[in-house]
């Protein structure tokens, strides 16, 4: 499953993994914003942005090929719209839809593959994103692994009984959904009990702040300057 692989990548060690999540987030936003404001037909700019992202992947020592192909998941959707725009006589926009969406997906994938999600959320919290949302996302991500595994098992069980060709009947799917729901609901109850048993006092403890070094500063400045440079030259 995609999230399991991404999670595993994010726990690796590299120069890129070691950078402060806030700086990486800023660099990501700079790259995407620069490309989003670049006029559609500037192919050279697109190549330069791509090179920046690729440099990031190499610095993070991540498998380039897998990242490239995983980011391509966005292409079917973009390609549909691109085709329509091409036929409607706007080839420049058609190409822009493709490269901009792909570049964004690729750089986001790079970001989460070199930043554990907990750190990314912490960086967002530092950016004043409401802590309620951060906590919900944190729990969501934690139990996404557990519950999607459960869903996977149920799907397998259904496939075994159906003879392998299809997953469920409509009623079967509804029943599976309800079982998954009831289990999730009681799991939430179990978590609440486990929290209370360890003295939960009504507020979640604040997370430790990430540490910022001068290398992070240099990296951030360089990344943002590079993105801005390409944007200005374009």
């Amino acid at each position: 499953m995609h999230h399991v692989i991404v999670e595993r990548w994010s726990r690796r060690r590299s120069w890129m993994h070691a950078r402060d999540a806030r700086v990486k987030l800023a660099a990501l936003v700079a790259l995407i914003a620069a490309s989003a404001t670049t006029p559609p037909s500037h192919w050279t700019a697109a190549l330069f942005y791509g090179a920046l992202a690729l440099a990031g992947v190499l610095a993070a020592r991540l498998p380039v090929h897998s990242l490239l192909s995983r980011a391509a998941l966005v292409l079917p959707f973009s390609a549909t719209f691109a085709a329509v725009n091409w036929l409607a006589g706007d080839p420049a926009r058609a190409s822009a839809l493709l490269w901009k969406s792909y570049l964004s997906a690729f750089s986001v994938l790079l970001f989460v593959s070199c930043t554990p999600l907990a750190d990314a959320l912490r960086a967002l919290e530092w950016c004043r994103v409401p802590s309620l949302l951060i906590l919900i996302a944190q729990f969501l991500y934690r139990y996404l692994f557990v519950i999607s595994e459960q869903a996977q098992h149920m799907r397998l069980a259904a496939q075994c009984r159906a003879g392998g060709n299809h997953d469920w009947t409509f009623r079967g799917a509804a029943a599976a959904l309800s079982v998954l729901f009831v289990r999730s609901y009681s799991r939430a109850d179990g978590i609440r009990q486990a929290m209370n048993a360890r003295g939960f006092a009504g507020r979640f403890p604040a997370l430790a702040a990430p540490r910022f070094t001068w290398i992070d500063g240099v990296f951030g400045a360089a990344a943002i300057a590079a993105c801005a440079g390409v944007r200005v030259m374009a």
């Binding site: 989003a36 949302l133 139990y143 869903a151």
Partner: protein
């Protein structure tokens, strides 16, 4: 429908990101007041549930299948403010971990699906509630998907993404089908949950019974969305609207972004974008307004 990056033009995503951020912090404060902190794990787990539920395929014949989107179901389970927060968290994780929907497009996606979608899904449950639960859930789920999709479509059209009439009709038909499917799946899921835990389902939903008000509210939200979609598809009408708003209004939107010129469209496009964004904002305010009305009556 998750909009990727690169589809919306800068004024559109910038405006909607700003609106999205503002609404998130407002709603977060509201949800904080309503939700006890010890219930936060429940919200997260419900989000994970909706995520995982998308792995369960519902066959709909012709070799195709659909899956739950979950806006209306979450609203039914958790109430609108908390559900909107959970949906926002889902969208954020989808954008970050699954590259489903863009980063700059996160604001628009949150407005479309987490706010408009959840509130549109909640309205019928609140107004019809109680005995007509099936109908309410169905209407809510249908509306939730339809309103989100129409808003997304409008935003694309405002951004100048070309959609010839044929393609537009095909997408509308597809939206309608997936909205119907969402309705059926949501009802089937809640019925199935009701068989497992009857008391739990009975205790939810049904704030007040005001079918007439409900129908007016739903029609209004729905028509506004459809209207905006078609308005954004035919820029001439919008142009006139902007002309009427006068040069002041036009400059207000165009000036700070004057440097950014879309090829061949120039300032004309600015006006179109401004009107469209206003329109989308209008549907959004409408949804929130009805939700607030509903709460005050309670």
């Amino acid at each position: 429908m998750h909009i990727p990056d690169g589809f919306l033009t800068p004024p559109v995503w910038a405006t909607l990101d700003f609106a999205g951020l503002a609404s998130v912090s407002l709603l977060a404060r509201k949800a904080r007041a309503e939700v006890d902190e010890s219930r936060i794990p429940l919200l997260g787990v419900m989000g994970a549930f909706v995520f995982a539920a998308q792995m369960i395929n519902f066959p709909v014949g012709l070799g195709t299948s659909g899956h739950l989107v979950g806006g209306a179901l979450l609203a039914f389970i958790l109430g609108p403010a908390a559900a909107a927060m959970v949906m926002t968290a889902i969208l954020a994780i989808q954008a970050l971990v699954f590259q489903d929907g863009g980063i700059l497009a996160l604001g628009p996606n949150v407005l479309n699906m987490a706010f408009a979608g959840v509130f549109a899904g909640y309205l019928p449950v609140h107004f019809l509630g109680g005995r007509s639960r099936r109908a309410a859930l169905f209407a809510g789920a249908f509306l939730s998907v339809m309103v989100s999709a129409l808003m997304a479509l409008s935003e694309l059209l405002i951004s100048g993404v070309r959609m010839p009439a044929g393609a537009l009709w095909i997408s509308l038909a597809l939206f309608a089908v997936s909205a119907l499917l969402e309705g059926v799946i949501t009802v089937a899921a809640v019925e199935a949950i009701g068989r497992l835990q009857p008391s739990w389902v009975k205790s939810r939903g049904g704030g007040m019974r005001a079918p007439a008000l409900a129908i007016i509210a739903l029609t209004a939200v729905f028509l506004a969305s459809v209207g905006i979609t078609f308005a954004s598809a035919s820029p001439d009408g919008l142009e006139k609207l902007i002309e009427r708003a006068g040069p002041a209004g036009r400059n207000l939107f165009a000036a700070p972004l004057a440097e950014y010129q879309w090829q061949g469209l120039g300032g004309e496009w600015m006006g179109k974008a401004a009107a469209g964004v206003l329109g989308v904002g209008f549907v959004f305010v409408l949804c929130i307004g009805f939700a607030r009305l509903a709460r005050s009556k309670k």
